[in-house]
Amino acid sequence: MNSYKKCASGIQIIATIMIVATTALTVLHWFFPLVYQAWYAASGVGVMREFDTTTFSWGQKVSGFMVEAFASALLIYGLLLVIQLMSLIKVNQYFTLATITLLKRISKIALLYCVYAVICGMALSVITTLHNQPGERVVAITFGTADLINIMVFCCMFLMMTIFQKGYEMKHEQDLTI
């Protein structure tokens, strides 16, 4: 198998693991926090949050989960598109309409994820401090390194899509050259 096909297979495996992990860890963190903490302590896999959901009310847990689940859903959808893209690349479909369509969708998802990450952080800061006394509730608007990296990823994806589109046009012209 060529090296790029091995790479595509590797990316598919990593994406699949990330889908499973994202789903499981999001549910565990909000509804089974003790299990999540035990898992994190044992394996180190996951994110240690600044808030502890064990003391939250059910309303806070459900609303926090809904907010974070949307972000997870975007990530999972993006990863599913990446898996589809790798499948196309493995069958030598590099510069095709299907590949370009997938790259466009991945770019849009990446952009949406960047924007939503900031909104999600803000919403979670409100939800996780709702149980505090009035005057101690927090609305935090954060924009960190991870968000900048996400924007870079979106820009790279957009550039890749433009290049693939150009490649498709060149291939199409080449196909119609007798």
Binding site: H172, E173, L176, T177, I178
Partner: protein, 70 residues
């Protein structure tokens, strides 16, 4: 301005069929059909030379330029 391919006219004059011409020129019937129907984006000189040699004609007999209004 548009390039018009008159391959079908020349094939009729020389009384040669598409599959025979494709085989003699060394390109697929599909590609020759694309050329004949005017869907081709470009033609290589080697292909044009081979077709002209087979049909005993000049490139100008196969290709012409027309205005879009015609």
């Amino acid at each position: 301005m548009k390039i018009v391919v008159k391959l079908d006219e020349m094939m009729a004059k020389r009384k040669i069929r598409l599959n025979e011409l494709a085989q003699n020129v060394g390109i697929t019937e599909c590609n020759l059909s694309i050329l004949k129907t005017g869907k081709a984006k470009a033609i290589r000189f080697s292909t044009l030379e081979a077709i002209c040699k087979e049909l005993n004609c000049q490139p100008g007999d196969l290709l012409s330029c027309s205005n879009d209004n015609d």
